[in-house]
């Protein structure tokens, strides 16, 4: 039995049938891509190629190619790492936490959001890997493997090592979760290829679908697997950014040494993740004509998540500032005074404007249901979240305890190039995903067509009138 609320807006519009769902989503895999796809791919690959050159130069010459100095030993690489990991939080949050809360609006956005998560985590992982310098030796430095030094084991007391386990577990579990969701949809494409007589495509998608047949017993097990994966992923999502925040919070640097970091980082991660999901989905929706599946209602709900998490982040910024003064610790106080008033004040105030003030515009219904405003604000939020990490990292260390070692950080073209490298990687991967994989979870959307589509709403209104 399903209870349908007459208050909620329909999740699928346009009078779609179950067959329409298969057709509307699969045709993007079956048809050759549009010219705009090739153009976007060419730009992504060009950016990727330039980035690859910069990465090669850094690996060849060492990380001295970056703009780091004796005082600022961590800057762009870790900023970009935390930024990408944060973005990588939305996908699994949508598919896991919203599944546990039975939020059906997740169904048409979870596939693309999870893909984004996986690519964002890959981008994030490139920064610590390259930072190791000789990353081919990294296995011995980062994993507990027997080695020729004793064995001298890795330090399990270090949050950097926790990060290795957290990020790799998060990546693996998200990948598995995403793939499990893809299996029935690959079978849809396989069977459509069989009907169309395309044997190669049928064979490829059959292999990808692991020979899926969709029997009731398999579906029963499948649902059980999805539910438990959601249950496992929920604490996992929250743990990842908590552990990333430990990288800073367990140190004794003023500005980093604070217990507020874990919840503050997790809220920020969800905030930036949803912003990136919106940026990508608004384009995908337009290009693939998915307006009936990703409706204004979906966008509005995501914008509400952005207001909530943005406000949590805002409260965290102000709490941090207040406590630095209230604690009476001189160094802590100076770190924050320097953030607000010092040479990086422009970065601090960019962060405040983008993250605290701009999402408050979504309180206006007109703004949160406007596609243009949402698109612009989603990019503003991501810029703001980049500045947040930059502010936390660089302003806390560029003026250390001895004024003679005070300095500024200036990125080199290799810092910038490596950031561009991840952009190229991310968009190339996302474009490949959009071409070869179904961008919306067909099986899940099909299960709500009957009960949550426009047709149901119409029937309901009619029956309500009759009752009245």
């Amino acid at each position: 039995m399903q209870v349908v609320s007459g208050v909620r807006d329909p999740l699928v519009t346009g009078g779609k049938t179950v067959h329409d769902v298969s057709h509307d989503i699969s045709r993007h895999v079956e048809n050759p891509p549009a010219k705009s796809w090739y153009l976007a791919m060419a730009i992504s690959l060009a950016v990727f190629g330039y980035g690859l050159y910069c990465v090669f130069m850094v690996l060849w010459n060492g990380i001295g190619m970056w703009g780091l100095n004796k005082t600022v030993g961590w800057a762009w690489d870790i900023t970009n790492f935390v930024w990408w990991v944060g973005i990588g939080h939305a996908g699994t949050l949508i598919s896991a936490i919203l599944l546990l809360f039975r939020q059906k609006w997740r169904m048409s956005i979870n596939r693309a959001a999870e893909a984004m998560t996986i690519f964002a985590v890959i981008c994030a992982a490139t920064f610590p890997l390259i930072h190791m310098g000789r990353l081919w030796l990294g296995f011995y430095w980062a994993l507990p493997l027997p080695n020729t030094f004793g064995s001298l084991w890795v330090n399990f007391n270090s949050p950097l090592l926790w990060d290795v386990f957290a990020i790799s577990t998060y990546f693996t579990v998200s990948l598995v979760f995403w793939y499990i969701g893809l299996i029935p949809d690959f079978a849809v494409i396989r069977d459509r290829a069989q009907v169309a007589g395309n044997k190669v495509r049928a064979a490829v998608y059959n292999a990808l679908s692991f020979g899926w047949e969709g029997g009731a017993k398999t579906w029963m097990r499948y649902e059980s697997v999805a539910l438990i994966l959601a249950g496992l992923s929920t604490p996992l999502v929250l743990s990842v950014h908590t552990i990333v925040s430990f990288d800073f919070a367990t140190s004794i640097i003023p500005g980093w040494h604070t217990t507020i970091f874990p919840p503050y980082f997790v809220a920020g991660a969800i905030f930036s993740g949803f912003a990136m999901v919106l940026t990508l989905l608004l384009i995908t929706r337009k290009v693939f004509k998915l307006e009936d599946y990703i409706t204004i209602y979906h966008i509005e709900l995501m914008n509400i998540v952005i207001i909530v998490t943005g406000s949590i982040v805002g409260v965290a910024y102000i709490t941090e500032l207040f406590i630095s003064w209230y604690s009476g610790v001189e160094y802590e106080g100076y770190a924050f005074f320097n953030r607000v008033q010092g040479p990086y004040a422009w970065a601090y105030w960019s962060m405040m404007t983008c993250n605290v003030i701009s999402p408050q515009l979504f309180w206006f219904r007109k703004i949160r249901t406007s596609l243009v405003a949402t698109f612009v604000l989603s990019i503003v939020v991501n810029i703001g979240m980049w500045f947040e990490r930059f502010v936390i990292i660089v302003t806390s260390i560029h003026r250390d305890y001895i004024p003679s070692s005070w300095t500024m950080f200036h990125p080199t073209m290799y810092d910038i190039g490596e950031y561009l490298f991840t952009f190229g990687l991310f968009f190339t991967a996302f474009l490949l995903f959009a071409k070869f994989f179904p961008v919306i979870n067909m099986a899940e959307v099909k299960s709500i067509v009957k009960h949550n589509s426009e047709n149901v709403g119409a029937d309901k209104k009619v029956s309500e009138k009759q009752h009245a």
Partner: protein, 176 residues
């Protein structure tokens, strides 16, 4: 007649008609081989009389394996094999070992459960499934009935029962 060869296939257009149909077909004493659906239909497993999946138990056992493996590894490596003073802490102190323990618990539970699921459901990339109707991944629910297991009933009887139960079509399907 050999089992698993000759089938009657009922096509259902709607999940609610299917759920009632399954009960009607079973009440008529017909044994259902399996129902293939494009999406999970809630209540279908109960209507078909399937027992609840034990995959949660598998996930729990794999998770516990992860927990004990992680704790054993960390305590042995830093506590016994090569003890080191790090920040003046105990060699094997539990709190800093919790994050890695948690992560490995989740990792093993997830991977172990998914692997178990794939093995029990016989999912392999090189397997071509036996398909009763290609529309079963698009928009139709396909009920397969093995004639050999319903020897007491004629093909026509089964087709009539399927139609009465709400099937829009009832077709023959033979595998050689």
């Amino acid at each position: 007649m050999d089992a698993n060869k000759n089938f009657v296939v009922g096509i259902f257009d709607d999940e609610d008609i299917l759920l009632e149909g399954v009960e009607k077909v079973r009440d008529n004493g017909v044994k259902i081989h399996e129902v293939y659906s494009p999406f999970p239909v809630h209540g279908l497993d109960e209507a078909l009389g399937y027992k609840r999946s034990r995959l949660p138990m598998a996930a729990f056992l794999f998770g516990m394996t992860g927990t004990s493996l992680a704790l054993t590894m960390q305590i042995w490596m830093l506590g016994y094999d090569w003890p080191m003073i790090i920040g003046g802490k105990n060699f094997a102190s539990l709190p800093p070992f919790i994050p890695v323990t948690f992560e490995l618990t989740v990792l093993l539970a997830a991977l172990g459960m998914v692997a178990t699921f794939m093995i029990v459901s016989d999912m392999k990339p090189y397997k071509w499934p036996r398909q009763f109707d290609l529309r079963s991944t698009d928009d139709k629910h396909v009920m397969a009935i093995d004639l050999a297991l319903n020897a007491g009933k004629s093909k026509e009887d089964i087709k009539r029962i399927l139609k009465e139960a709400g099937a829009s079509e009832a077709n023959d399907k033979n595998f050689d």
